[in-house]
C-alpha cells in the first residue's frame, strides 16, 4: 500500500487547470518532496489530499482511504502545515497549539509537556504568550510547523515549511521534520527551495504546470543529467598532448572536456563517482601526476532545468 496514491487527478478553477491528470505516489515512511515553481500545482495537490479542496476528477487515496469518499476519515490520520499561517489574530501560540492538539485527539496529559518541548525546540517559548498578530513572519511560520509536531499525524504535509524563516530557523525546522519521520510519520513537503529539497528528500517529484515531470531519489535525478557533474582537474605540469585529451574524452560517461589553462581541464561527466577512478587509472598509465581534483555536483535546480527547460529559482519568485 502507498501512503499516497493519485490517479489521473484533475483540479480546475474555472477554465484554469491546476492539476492535469496527475499520477503520483508516496511510499510509507518516506519524505517525498514536491519541487516546482509557483503555479506548478503543488499547493493544489496538497490541499486536495488534505480534503480542503475537492478534486474535479480522478482519484486520490491517503493510506488507502479515498479523499473524496471518506474525507473525514482522511482528516483523522493527516495533518497539514499551511504555506501561510493566518487568521488567529487574537490568540496566543500556546493556546493555538493546545487547541490544535485537542482537536486532533492529543490527550491533555501528553499535550502540555509536548507543547512546552516543541515551543522550546522551535525557539517560540519566549513568544508563547504574545498575541498571534504580534509575531514576526518567521515566528508564525514556525508556529504553523509546530502544530504538526504536536499532532504527530500518520501522514504529515508541509507546504513550504521554511519560507520566511532565517537560515538557523530553517535548519531547526528541517531537523524537526526528520525527527517526525523517525517517529513514524510519512511526510510530503512542497517547496521551491532547492536546499530544502536536498536536505529532506528521500525522493523528489518535480511538478510543472500541473504535471508530474519526473520522480526519483535526489542522487538518481542528478545522475540522469548528461554531463551534469563537473570534474576540475589540475595537473602538475602543462600537457598539450591532443591524444591525451582524446583518450580522456573516450572515458565512458564523458560529455565534454574543456581545457581551462595549460595544466587545467574541466570535464563534464554524467556520474563523477564512476568517472574519476577511470580517469585516475588513465593518468597512472600515462604517468601524469595530478595535483588536484575537484568535483561539483549539479543542483536540483539544474535537474529542473534539464527536465523542463526552465530555471526553478527564477520562476520561484516570479
Amino acid at each position: 500500500m502507498y501512503a499516497v496514491e493519485t490517479q489521473n487527478l484533475v483540479k480546475r478553477y474555472g477554465k484554469f487547470q491546476a492539476l492535469k491528470g496527475l499520477d503520483f505516489t508516496v511510499n510509507l515512511g518516506e519524505i517525498m518532496v514536491l519541487l516546482g515553481p509557483n503555479g506548478s500545482g503543488k499547493t493544489t495537490l496538497l490541499l486536495s489530499l488534505a480534503t480542503v479542496l475537492k478534486p474535479t476528477s480522478g482519484t486520490a487515496k491517503v493510506m488507502g482511504i479515498d479523499v473524496m469518499k471518506q474525507p473525514t476519515a482522511v482528516r483523522q490520520i493527516l495533518g497539514i502545515s499551511f504555506q501561510d499561517a493566518r487568521g488567529f489574530w487574537r490568540h496566543k501560540p500556546a493556546e493555538i497549539l493546545d487547541f490544535h492538539g485537542a482537536m486532533c485527539g492529543v490527550k491533555k496529559a501528553d499535550r502540555t509537556p509536548l507543547i512546552e518541548q516543541v515551543l522550546k525546540e522551535l525557539e517560540l517559548w519566549d513568544a508563547r504568550n504574545k498575541l498571534f498578530m504580534h509575531l514576526s513572519g518567521g515566528q508564525t511560520k514556525r508556529l504553523e510547523v509546530a502544530k504538526l509536531l504536536i499532532q504527530r499525524p500518520k501522514f504529515a504535509i508541509f507546504d513550504e515549511p521554511s519560507s520566511q524563516v532565517d537560515l538557523r530557523g530553517k535548519r531547526t525546522i528541517w531537523e524537526q521534520i526528520l525527527k517526525l519521520r523517525e517517529a513514524g510519520s510519512t511526510i510530503l513537503v512542497a517547496t521551491n527551495e532547492v536546499r530544502e529539497a536536498e536536505f529532506l528528500a528521500d525522493r523528489v517529484t518535480i511538478l510543472d504546470q500541473g504535471k508530474n515531470i519526473v520522480c526519483d531519489t535526489v542522487r538518481n535525478l542528478k545522475d540522469k543529467i548528461t554531463g551534469g557533474d563537473i570534474v576540475e582537474l589540475e595537473l602538475d605540469q602543462a600537457n598539450g598532448d591532443k591524444e591525451f585529451q582524446e583518450e580522456l574524452s573516450k572515458i565512458p560517461g564523458t560529455a565534454k572536456i574543456t581545457p581551462v589553462e595549460e595544466n587545467k581541464y574541466k570535464a563534464y561527466v554524467s556520474v563523477a563517482e564512476a568517472w574519476v577512478p577511470k580517469m585516475t587509472s588513465l593518468f597512472y598509465q600515462r604517468k601524469i601526476r595530478v595535483s588536484s581534483v575537484r568535483v561539483t555536483e549539479p543542483s536540483l535546480d539544474d535537474v529542473f532545468l534539464s527536465c523542463t527547460g526552465k530555471k526553478l529559482e527564477t520562476n520561484a519568485n516570479a
Partner: protein, 255 residues
C-alpha cells in the same frame, strides 16, 4: 460533539477577553430605550399600542438578533479571506459538525448579547408567563439561525468579491430592517410599504415575539403563519449554507 464545543469556545473566549463589544451593545440598547424610546413613546400614540417604548424595546431586540445573524455570516467570510477557513476545513471533524459549530457560535453570541436587553424588556413588560418568555427566546434563536443561514448562503458572493458582498449585505440589511414591522406595526404601514414588509423575515420574527410577549394580536400577523415562515427560513437557509460549504468552499481558492 466535544470538538464542536471546542471550536465554539476557542473563538468565543477571545471575544470575552474583555467583552467590550457586548458591553457596548448593552449600553447602546439602554441609551436607545431610555432616552430615544422614552421620548418617541410620548409622540407615538395609538389605541392598539398602549406603550410604544415597550413596542420599541422588542423591536430593538429583534434588530440585535438580526445583527448577530449577519455577524455570523460575515465571520465566515472573514475566515475565508483571512486564510483561516482552509485550516478549519482540514480539522478532523465532519463538514456537518463544522457548520454546526459556526451556527452554534452565532447562537451563543446571540444568547450573550440578548441577556441584558431581554432582562430589561421583560422587566418593562412585567407579569409574563415563563412559557411565553421561553417561546419568545426560541423564536429569537430561530430568527437568528435563519438570518445567519441567509448570510452564509450569500457568502459565495464574497469568493468573487468581498467588496460586492459587503455592499450587498449592507444594502439588504438596510432594506430588511426598514421594510419590516420592527419599529411599526404592519397595519399602520402604507400599502406599498406593507407589501415589501410582508416579505421581510424580521416582520415574522418581530410579530411572533410580540404575540408571545402579550402585545395586542390585532396589530400582528397570524402567529401560526409566522412560525411556519420562520421555520422554513431557518431550515432552508441553513441547508443552503451547508450545501455551499460542501460544494463551493471546497472547490475554490479561498485565500
Amino acid at each position: 460533539m466535544r470538538n464542536v464545543l471546542r471550536l465554539i469556545w476557542f473563538d468565543l473566549k477571545q471575544e470575552l477577553k474583555p467583552p467590550v463589544w457586548i458591553l457596548v451593545e448593552w449600553f447602546i440598547f439602554t441609551v436607545q430605550l431610555f432616552i430615544y424610546g422614552a421620548l418617541i413613546s410620548r409622540l407615538v400614540t395609538a389605541p392598539e399600542i398602549s406603550n410604544y417604548q415597550q413596542f420599541y424595546a422588542v423591536g430593538f431586540i429583534v434588530m440585535i438578533t438580526f445583527d448577530i445573524g449577519t455577524h455570523t455570516g460575515r465571520h465566515f467570510v472573514e475566515d475565508a479571506h483571512e486564510g483561516r477557513l482552509p485550516y478549519l476545513l482540514s480539522l478532523p471533524i465532519s463538514r456537518i459538525k463544522l457548520f454546526l459549530s459556526i451556527a452554534l457560535q452565532g447562537g451563543f453570541e446571540l444568547a450573550l448579547m440578548l441577556t441584558v436587553p431581554l432582562a430589561i424588556t421583560l422587566f418593562l413588560l412585567g407579569n409574563l408567563a415563563v412559557l411565553s418568555v421561553a417561546a419568545a427566546i426560541i423564536t429569537l434563536f430561530g430568527l437568528g439561525f435563519g438570518v445567519a443561514g441567509l448570510m452564509l448562503g450569500l457568502s459565495f458572493i464574497a469568493f468573487k468579491s468581498s467588496d460586492m458582498y459587503t455592499a450587498i449585505v449592507t444594502g439588504l440589511s438596510t432594506i430588511i430592517i426598514r421594510f419590516s414591522t420592527v419599529f411599526y406595526p404592519l397595519i399602520f404601514l402604507p400599502q406599498g410599504y406593507a407589501s415589501i414588509a410582508s416579505i421581510s423575515p424580521l416582520t415574522y420574527g418581530a410579530d411572533l415575539v410580540r404575540f408571545l410577549l402579550g402585545f395586542d394580536p390585532s396589530i400582528l400577523l397570524n402567529p401560526a403563519y409566522a412560525v411556519a415562515v420562520l421555520a422554513a427560513l431557518a431550515v432552508s437557509t441553513l441547508g443552503l449554507g451547508m450545501v455551499l460549504l460542501q460544494r463551493l468552499v471546497e472547490g475554490v481558492k479561498s485565500a
